[in-house]
């Protein structure tokens, strides 16, 4: 037994909670199920914090380098001597950091939900689903085997399906859940094929071995994967790009992002958990996990970079136009993950080269806090206003002081205003981009300005804008359970920037030096401030200025408001092309041609049978005649022809 064996408890505790609450919760202890779920997760959180401490500061480092530790590994399914799915736990800076983020954010959401979901008939079900999700997410980040990660990947998808569709009586929620699942499923197809390709050539499914084999230019496996090619592109590129496709699906990268905004139909804390801090960053995590291999393939990394950068920009533009506050946040998430992606893409391995990798994960870390804070804040607002639409809000700052302050902190953090958390991580990303790809750098710069603008548009619309408020009769800000997470997360958003990620989570396990170059950071901060001021002027007071501005952009605004018609395009492809041109013909062919063939065969036999009934005419003389012909025929045949 390894001293880290207890880590297995971290995912298993939520799993136990899931089983317990799912089977018996609703019937026997509906009301306390929230406490139960939160409590088990609290233990998990403590354990993961202990793990982080143990790993980062006690014994993770060997000779100044963080090494991978595999404390547990059980063979789950042995395909062949080489290939097996193992259930294992991997500990390295990446997974430990994710462990902390996931358990922490999840705990906050659990606590927040105690108040938010109070009185819900299916309270226990809700918590069991939350536990299931947490379990899957923890399993995902701890996976030591590429197939294991795929399994938890799917589980995450399903539990997010269940959570998004929690209000199952609302058709829109069901539709959104379906959409989220199917789109990510489609992306997972790429992931699966990628796994098949990589594992076939590397002859292993184990991450450690796989990475070792595919990063050693001398190994036969590396030789086989780089020489084998399909359509002129090497199998390595194919494999990595396909794996990335899976990641892009979960992380809502263009063009697979369409599910994310719709997924806001779920309960808001769920969005905070799934769509801010955990599931959506799984793609980044996946790229990070396979980063050593990605480094060996420039083409794949370039794709990662451009997809990330484009998504960041696109989402930011769309976010400026949306009026549903959760959708704004959703697009902002997509944009921020775009940041993380291209940061990965521009990174190299080791030392200064690896700045992008570190920056990406740093941003992941900080983003988790401020984005979940934003969602929870939005949740608190929605809880109060009972609407998602900005138009129904305004002037809430007096009514919800804590929400207001924490929301502001989060907005500042995401806008990249020092000393809030977002500033540091974004700074590193921009720096990394500046060093390797100027185009991406400028896109990122522009996007960060836009980010500040739309976030403050949101902020002002909710908390300022209108001064008088009608819908405030007896509501207060919500119970304590909703306020505490906001405060804790607010503190994190304020302070997370100072976390020593640079010395802990790097591409090669070694520390890298980071420094804030004031001159360099001036530009993004100024841009952000400009964005904030713009938002201030447009949205601080209720006026028609914003509408006028929108009108000046005209068609572009409408297009952005309609999310560039990507949804419609998908709808066209699926409904019109797949359903009408593939599905319907298949069903038709089956019914009429293939089945028809069988029926025709039977009918044909019947027809022949009717046709020849005249032979049996009932006349004994004709019978004798046939008899005679039979004899003559046989004789002729066998005497003359077959002799």
């Amino acid at each position: 037994m390894n001293i880290y064996s207890y880590i297995a408890l971290i995912p298993l505790l939520p799993f136990a909670a899931f089983v317990l609450l799912g089977l018996f919760g609703r019937k026997y202890f509906n009301t306390v199920s929230g406490i139960l779920g939160t409590f088990t997760l609290g233990i998990s959180t403590l354990l993961s914090l202990a793990t982080a401490y143990q790993y980062f500061f006690v014994d993770g480092k060997v000779d100044g380098v963080f090494t991978q530790i595999i404390p547990l590994k059980y063979t789950w399914l042995q395909f062949s001597p080489n290939l097996s799915i193992d259930m294992g736990i991997i500990l390295d800076p990446l997974s430990v950091m994710m462990l902390v983020v996931v358990t922490f954010v999840s705990l906050m959401v659990h606590i927040f939900s105690l108040g938010y979901m109070k009185g819900e008939e299916r309270f226990a079900t809700y918590y069991s689903f939350l536990s299931l999700f947490t379990f899957s997410m923890l399993g995902l980040v701890l996976s030591s085997n590429i197939f294991q990660i795929y399994m938890f990947w799917e589980l995450v998808g399903v539990s997010s399906f269940l959570l998004i569709g929690f209000y199952f009586e609302k058709p829109s929620a069901v539709a959104a859940a379906k959409k989220a699942f199917i789109v990510t499923r489609f992306a997972d197809l790429g992931f699966l094929i990628g796994i098949l390709i990589l594992s076939f050539h590397a002859q292993t499914l184990d991450f450690q071995t796989l990475i070792a084999r595919l990063t050693d230019p001398q190994s036969s496996q590396m030789l086989s994967i780089t020489t084998a090619s399909f359509m002129g592109i090497s199998m390595l590129t194919w494999g990595l790009v396909l794996v990335f496709a899976g990641g892009a699906g979960k992380s809502a990268m263009f063009p697979l992002h369409i599910w994310l905004p719709d997924a806001m139909e779920g309960p808001t804390p769920v969005s905070a958990l799934i769509h801010a801090a955990t599931m959506v960053v799984a793609g980044v995590y996946l790229v990070g996990r396979l980063f050593p291999v990605f480094v060996f393939d420039g083409a794949a990394l370039i794709i990662v970079t451009y997809v990330g950068a484009f998504s960041a920009l696109l989402a930011a533009v769309i976010a400026c136009t949306q009026t549903d506050i959760k959708r704004v946040l959703a697009y902002s998430t997509m944009s921020q993950i775009g940041y993380m992606m291209f940061a990965m893409g521009v990174s190299g391995k080791g030392g200064e080269e690896g700045l992008g990798y570190m920056a990406s994960l740093f941003h992941l870390f900080t983003h988790a806090f401020f984005k979940s804070l934003l969602f929870l804040g939005a949740g608190a607002v929605i809880h109060m206003v009972h609407s998602n639409d900005m138009k129904d809000m305004g002037g809430l700052r007096k009514l919800m002081p804590i929400t207001h302050i924490t929301f502001l902190i989060a907005c500042l953090a995401i806008a990249g205003i020092p000393p809030f958390a977002g500033f540091f991580s974004k700074e590193e990303i921009l720096l990394a981009a500046f060093h390797s790809n100027k185009l991406v750098f400028f896109v990122a710069l522009f996007t960060s300005g836009l980010t500040a603008f739309y976030m403050f548009r949101l902020y002002f619309s909710i908390f300022w804008s209108k001064e008088t408020q009608q819908h405030s009769e007896h509501h207060d800000e919500g119970p304590l359970s909703m306020k505490i997470p906001l405060i804790i997360l607010g503190a994190c958003a304020l302070l997370a920037g100072f976390a020593p990620i640079a010395s802990l989570v790097t591409s090669d396990g070694k520390e890298i030096e980071t420094h804030i170059d004031v001159l360099f950071s001036l530009t993004p901060v100024l841009l952000a401030i400009t964005g904030i001021l713009l938002a201030l002027s447009l949205y601080k007071k209720e006026s028609d200025k914003a509408t006028k501005v929108a009108n000046t952009f005209g068609g572009f605004y409408r297009t952005a408001y309609k999310k560039f018609y990507i949804d419609e395009l998908y709808l066209f492809v699926t409904q019109k092309i797949i359903f009408n041109l593939v599905g319907k013909p298949s069903a038709w062919i089956d019914k009429n041609i293939i089945d028809g063939m069988m029926n025709k065969l039977a009918e044909g036999t019947g027809v022949v049978s009717t046709q020849i009934k005249g032979l049996q005419s009932g006349k004994v003389q004709s019978y004798a005649l046939y008899f005679f012909f039979g004899i003559m025929g046989l004789s002729a045949l066998f005497i003359y022809l077959l002799k």
């Binding site: 039977a602 020849i612 049996q616 009932g618 004798a624 008899f627 004899i631 046989l634 066998f638 005497i639």
Partner: protein, 470 residues
């Protein structure tokens, strides 16, 4: 001592003759009630069956005109059993019939004819047996005297069979002309594959084919089956057919061995034709007797497939199949004859919802039909399987494939009846029938036969061991 030999070797024939004599005496004497007569006759037939199994003997009589051995004894026993079952089944019909004794005398005469035919070692003997087994049958076919259909069936039967026996005789005369002898054992050595011999063989084959309803010599079958009383139909379809098949197999394998190449190909052709035509006609029949007629034609096609195999396996599988076929077909006919005698209905559409009123009879009919179709675990499955194995022995897989696919068609029409019985709704189903004792016994015998003969492999092994004779 020839007399001694006669008593030993011809004991089955003598037994029959004795029963016929007793019946004649009763006819001349005073009136018996029908019921007691039937009881007596069935008891006699039972004794006949049991005595058949005692003291098997082997040998020749009258030169080599008459021969017997354990296989032939077995074949006669099979026919005896079949006759007993038919007799039991026709109880309901005969109970009210005026000419009960005549019916039995005629039937037993034909049986006697078949015995002679099965035992024949000479074409003359064969011919006599054949005619003895045919002419009384025509009279039997007319036994529903007041029914026009019955007369028509009898007329068609007698005219067709006279015609066919004319051609058969013509063939025999030509064969006699080329071989100079009528004895089976001697003919073989004179067969040299000349065109005239082939021609005469075709004529003789047609004579056989007529009796066992091989396409295109089968046309009389359906009409006669439909018109005749059910007892006669079942007798025609199993006993008379079975007897001729026994002879046919042994004649082909022994007498016409030198012509094997010719008859092998002929059988190939005829079996395919028979199966296909039989199936196609059976598909759309509504009268159940007519339907069974065509289905039995298709069955004969399968038997021909089996015959086209090698001698031992072919013989064994044909005899085995005939045995199974007797039980299966009589199971079906037993139900049909009950329904016909009591309810007077003979159409498949009348059988709709039969299960609601008569579950036992429905199950018997269903199992019998499954056995005919060749569904395990009934014996019919084993019978057909072995026939086709025998047929495949020569490597003629095309034949096997055709036969196997035709089994699917045959499934359709058998299942169609099952469907009527179990699934179709009917406003006026056949009322609940009270089954008299004897038909019930017959049905149970059939059921037992259908189940046991297949699963109990010793029966097949016994037949197989006897079949080495050729």
């Amino acid at each position: 001592m020839i007399l001694n030999d006669i008593f030993i070797l011809m004991k089955q024939e003598l037994m029959l003759l004795g029963i016929i004599m007793i019946l004649l005496i009763i006819k001349v004497g005073k009136d018996w009630s029908n019921e007691s007569l039937l009881n007596l006759i069935n008891a006699l037939l039972l004794i006949n069956v049991m005595s058949g199994f005692m003291m098997p003997a082997e040998g020749f009589l009258f030169g080599d005109m008459f021969k017997t051995n354990s296989l032939i004894t077995l074949e006669k026993n099979i026919l005896n059993i079949g006759t007993l079952i038919i007799s039991l089944q026709s109880y309901s019909w005969l109970k009210n019939h005026k000419h009960l004794i005549e019916f039995y005398i005629l039937m037993l005469s034909t049986l006697l004819g078949m015995f002679y035919m099965v035992s024949s070692g000479n074409l003359l003997m064969f011919y006599l047996g054949l005619e003895l087994s045919t002419i009384p049958l025509a009279a039997m076919a007319n036994f529903d005297l007041e029914k026009r259909k019955s007369s028509e069936a009898a007329l068609k039967f007698i005219i067709s069979s006279a015609f066919s026996s004319g051609l058969l005789l013509f063939g025999i005369s030509l064969l006699y002309g080329t071989a100079g002898t009528l004895s089976f054992t001697e003919i073989t050595s004179h067969l040299t594959n000349t065109p005239l011999q082939i021609f005469s063989f075709v004529l003789i084959l047609a004579g056989f084919s007529f009796k066992i309803s091989v396409v295109p010599f089968h046309f009389w079958t359906a009409d006669v089956y439909e018109g005749s009383p059910v007892a006669v139909t079942s007798y025609l379809s199993v006993i008379s057919k079975g007897a001729v098949l026994f002879v046919f197999v042994s004649v082909l394998y022994t007498v016409f061995k030198p012509l094997a190449e010719v008859w092998y190909n002929m059988l190939f052709l005829l079996s395919v034709l028979t199966i296909v035509i039989g199936n196609l006609f059976a598909l759309r029949q509504d009268n159940i007797k007519r339907f069974l007629a065509f289905s039995s034609i298709a069955q004969v096609g399968f038997i021909l497939v089996g015959i086209s195999g090698s001698s031992q396996m072919g013989t064994a599988s044909v005899i085995y199949f005939v045995l199974i076929y007797i039980f299966s077909n009589l199971g079906a006919f037993g139900v049909v004859s009950l329904v016909s005698a009591i309810a007077g209905k003979e159409n498949i559409s009348d059988y709709r919802a039969f299960y609601k009123t008569n579950p036992f009879l429905s199950w018997v009919l269903t199992i019998a039909l499954f056995s005919l179709a060749g569904v395990p675990p009934t014996a019919g499955f084993f019978g057909k399987f072995f026939l086709l194995i025998a047929g495949a022995e020569q490597g003629n897989y095309i034949l096997i494939a055709i036969a196997a696919l035709n089994m699917v068609i045959s499934f359709y029409y058998y299942l169609r009846i099952v469907k009527s019985i179990f699934m179709d709704p009917n406003e006026h189903p056949i009322e609940k029938l009270t089954i008299p004792m004897m038909p019930k016994i017959a049905l149970f015998i059939c059921l037992a036969g259908i189940v046991v003969i297949g699963l109990w492999s010793s029966i097949y092994e016994y037949i197989y061991s006897l079949s080495t004779g050729f």
